[in-house]
Structures are given as C-alpha cells and as structure tokens.
Amino acid sequence: MKRKAFIKSCGNICVKALVASALASMASCSPIPIHKASENNIIPVPLSRFDAKNLILIYTPWLPYDVLLVRFPNNQFKALWMKCSHQDEALTITRYGIFCPAHGSSFDLNGKALHPPAVDALKDFKVDVKSNVVEIHLI
C-alpha cells in the first residue's frame, strides 16, 4: 500500500513538474521572427531583421517547406531547408536546435544530424551578403 501511494505521488509530481516546466518555458519563449519571401529564386533578407537570437524563419508559401536562416557569431550565415532528411517531416525549430517531432531526429543549427534516425545533414542553400542584405539562393 505504501509502495502504491509512493508511485502515485511520484507520478503526480512528474506530471505536475512536466506541465509546470512546459508552461514556464513557454511563457519565457518568444517566437522566431518570420520573413515572408516573395516568389523568387533569390530571397533578400535585411540584416536588420535579425534579433539577438540570430534566427529568421523564411516563409516560402509556394514551396512545401520553410527555410531557416541562421547567423553565427563570426557573421557567417547558413540557410537550411526545413525538411527532415529521414522521412520528409516538416521540422520544429527552436533557438537551440532543430527537431523532428515524428521520429526524434535532431539537428544542430549547422544542419548536421545529431541523433538518428536521420543520418544525412539538412539541405542548405548558398548565401551571399551584400551590404546590409543577406541573399539566399534557392537554386
């Protein structure tokens, strides 16, 4: 009986901690800026769009997936195609990494596959910086 009560209380604590931490972290979390791109094979993104977290989600409504533009501290950029290299699932982006909600794969902000089942890196696009604009070349 004591064991039952212990398990029950442990379960309750786990669920409550989970919900509380999720709510707390959600409250402290701001959305990643979204840049809506016009239908073009070169997407210009003003540098001024970057906030302190250095991520911009490029919304490309004419394509099946978005593009994530990442600015690294040395002012290098990476434009990543948000399609899981495992089974084409649309990826979930946070400020700390890129995740596949379906099968648990994860990628770093360079697009490198960190955890299986994904094996291959994410597709990336050529990026040019011209004065105050970052250009993403989709082809």
């Binding site: 379960g11 669920v15 972290s25 979390c29 979204i34 978005d66 099968h103 094996v119 082809i139």
Partner: protein
C-alpha cells in the same frame, strides 16, 4: 541598335534568374515533379541467453520494408510491412503484418492529417520504434506491457506544430476502440488491439498529445480514452455507446540530451474502468489499473576515449518498475509476479548512425517468482 540586340539576348536570362518558376524549384529538388517512390526498411536480430534457466535462443526479431509514395506535395503514402521471427508457421509465433498504412495529407505548412492505419503519439517507442534508436536488444517492458508498442489502429489524426510557440507540437487522433476480450493482467491492453485487422468500429477512441522542445529538453504528455467492443448478446449488462467499457491511458515522458549524455524518464498509467464487468462476462482477469515507469541514462564513452571518433559507443543503464495489477476488482486474484523491478545495463556500438551492435544484461525481479537473468547480444539497422 547593337545595344538593343544585346539587351534582347540577355533579357530572358535576367528574367529567368529573378523569377522563381515551378521548373526552377523542381530542378532544385524543392518540389516534387512526378510520382516519387521511396523504399527503405529496418531490421534487428539477437541471441537471447537465459542465465537462470540455462537456455539460449537466436532469432531474427523482425525485418520491415517501408514503402512510401509521394503523389504530390500535399499527399503521400506511408506503409510498413513487417515479418517477425523469419517465417510464419504454426507454433513459431511468427507474424507477417502491416505496421502502418496511411495517407498523409498536408493541410497547410504547420498541419497535416494522417488517415488509415497509423501509430498514435503515445510514449517514446510507439512512434519511433526503429531498433537502432532504442537502447538494448529489446524494447523496454513499460513500453511493451503498459503502452502496447507498436500500437496502431485505424482512424484519422491531426498532427501539427505552432509558429507562435516554437517547439510546440500536437496531435489529436480519432480511431477504433479496443477488443474487450483481450484485456488481462499479463498483457494489459496489448492483446486488445485490433491493429487494423477487422476492427469493430462501433466503439471509438480519442488520443491527444502535446510535445514541447525547450533547450535540450523534450517533454511530452499524451492521453488515450476509448471504448471497447460490447458483446452483442447482452445489452443489459453493458451500455452501448461509442465509449462503452472505457479504457484510459495517460503518459508523460522527458528526454534530456546534452552532447554525449542522454536521460529518458517515462511514466504510464492505464485504467480499465469496468474491468469487473468484463471479467465476469469473458472469464478474464483484467486489472482495474496498471502502471509502469522507467529511467534510462546513457553516455557515449567513445567521446571520452577517442574524441575525434565518428563512431559511438553508448553505455547505458535503465531501471523499470511495472505493476500489472495495481488495482483489481474484488472477484479477481492478482497474478503471481505482477510487480516487476527490471535493471538493465548494456553497450551499444554504432558503426554508423544507422547500424549498431548491441549487448545487454537484464535482471528481472518479480514478486513471488524466481529472479531471472538475461544476457542478450544483437544487431540493428535502418536505412
């Protein structure tokens, strides 16, 4: 005039470079051109040594062929055909079954519908059951006996994610209910699954999940509530509605990953709400509730011994607790060995990210039963 000719010659190319056409995106691989079929698969094999009984068994646990077809950017087919234990013959417990067969229909960028035979998002292994992604030669007991992975049913599921709360994903599923004659203390709700085969659909079930990524933490809660098929012969004893003889399952899990270290924590609890009625009708021993939890720790020791190695050697430990008869009705006797304490330790050597060899030791302690020690070695792959 010369300038005009040069301009006319170059104008189409300038236009081509600037306007994103369908053909451009096709050639860049960003859109699907025509039919697009993918074949992949996974498999696992193991040698199981029962150190307590002095018995040993070698087996190809499963081989699965995945076939996917992209009809368009909006509609895709996913299917998995599984063969367990190499062949299906009387007495060898082999199984040849469809593990998934669903159409994925994109509604918009953030939401899609799966319809057909699909795996609801409950627990960790149910949706992500590739053998090279879980630790040890076998799936853990909690996600086999409490959450009956791989649990697939026929229905429709809405899967989505949020732009406004980065990291938040959700699912909401409607599917057929369970088979009431299959509940037992030994197998929980496992033998009550229809798995898409001649499922009675008078009773239905709903399940929902919230999955959230925060920093290195993956948090998930999921719940299932569904009816069980009601015998036709007795409408007095059993109420007849879509949720008659209900079963409720709630599950929560956490995964924390920091470079080469990973922790998993999962708890699941099932209630068979009218177990007593079902037991008296079917002469079964279904529990009113069962529970299971585990904690698992793993570390890539090659990152310490050989920091530049691309291979990984994970050492892991897992502790599981299960109670297959947490509550039983007055007229039901608890089975011997309903409480499990399972300690597992092992190594998993990844030659590649999707090819690994496994070895583990398990100590199973169950009340009223002799302790059991198992030693397993195996291999797993997916492609």
């Amino acid at each position: 005039m010369k300038k005009v000719v040069i301009l006319l010659l170059f104008l189409p190319q300038v236009a081509f470079c600037q306007i994103f056409t369908k053909e451009d995106s096709l050639s860049a691989g960003l859109k699907t051109s025509n039919a697009n079929t993918v074949i992949s698969g996974y498999g696992e094999a193991k040698i199981n040594m029962d150190l307590t009984r002095g018995e040993s068994q070698a087996n190809i646990t499963r081989n699965v062929i995945f076939l996917g077809h992209k009809f368009s950017d909006q509609i895709s087919l996913f299917s998995e055909l599984e063969l367990e234990n190499t062949k299906v013959e009387n007495g060898n417990q082999g199984e040849f079954a469809l593990e998934q067969l669903f159409l994925k229909i994109n509604i918009n960028r953030n939401n899609y519908i799966s319809t057909g035979l699909f795996l609801p998002r409950i627990g960790i292994i149910n949706e992500n059951h590739l053998p090279a992604t879980f630790l040890g030669c076998d799936r853990n007991f909690v996600e086999s006996l409490i959450i009956p992975s791989t649990w697939r049913e026929l229905g429709v599921s809405l899967n989505g994610r949020s732009y406004n709360l980065p990291g938040l994903n959700y699912t909401l599923s409607l599917m057929n209910g369970l088979n009431a004659s299959g509940y037992s203390q030994n197998d929980g709700i496992r033998e009550a699954r229809y798995e898409g085969s001649l499922a009675r659909s008078q009773q239905i079930a709903v399940s929902a999940s919230l999955l959230y990524y925060y920093r290195s933490l993956r948090m998930q809660v999921s719940a299932y509530y569904g009816g069980s098929n009601v015998p036709k012969t007795d409408s007095v004893l059993f109420s007849r509605n879509p949720f008659s003889l209900p079963v409720a399952l709630i599950e929560a899990n956490l995964q924390w990953t920091k470079s080469n270290f990973q922790t998993k924590l999962l708890i699941a609890h099932t209630r068979i709400i009218e177990a007593e009625k079902m037991n008296s009708y079917y002469h079964t021993d279904a529990p009113m509730s069962n529970i299971g939890a585990y904690i698992e720790l793993s570390y890539n020791i090659l990152s310490f011994l050989k920091p530049k190695a691309t291979q990984r050697l994970l050492c892991f430990g897992r502790y599981e607790y299960l109670n297959q008869a947490l509550n039983v009705s007055e007229n039901t006797t608890r089975i011997a060995g309903n409480e499990w304490h399972v300690s597992s330790f092992g190594l998993q050597w990844y030659l590649l990210k999707n090819v690994c060899f496994k070895g583990d030791y398990k100590l199973i302690q169950r009340n009223q039963l002799q302790n059991q020690e198992l030693l397993n070695i195996g291999m797993a792959f997916h492609f």
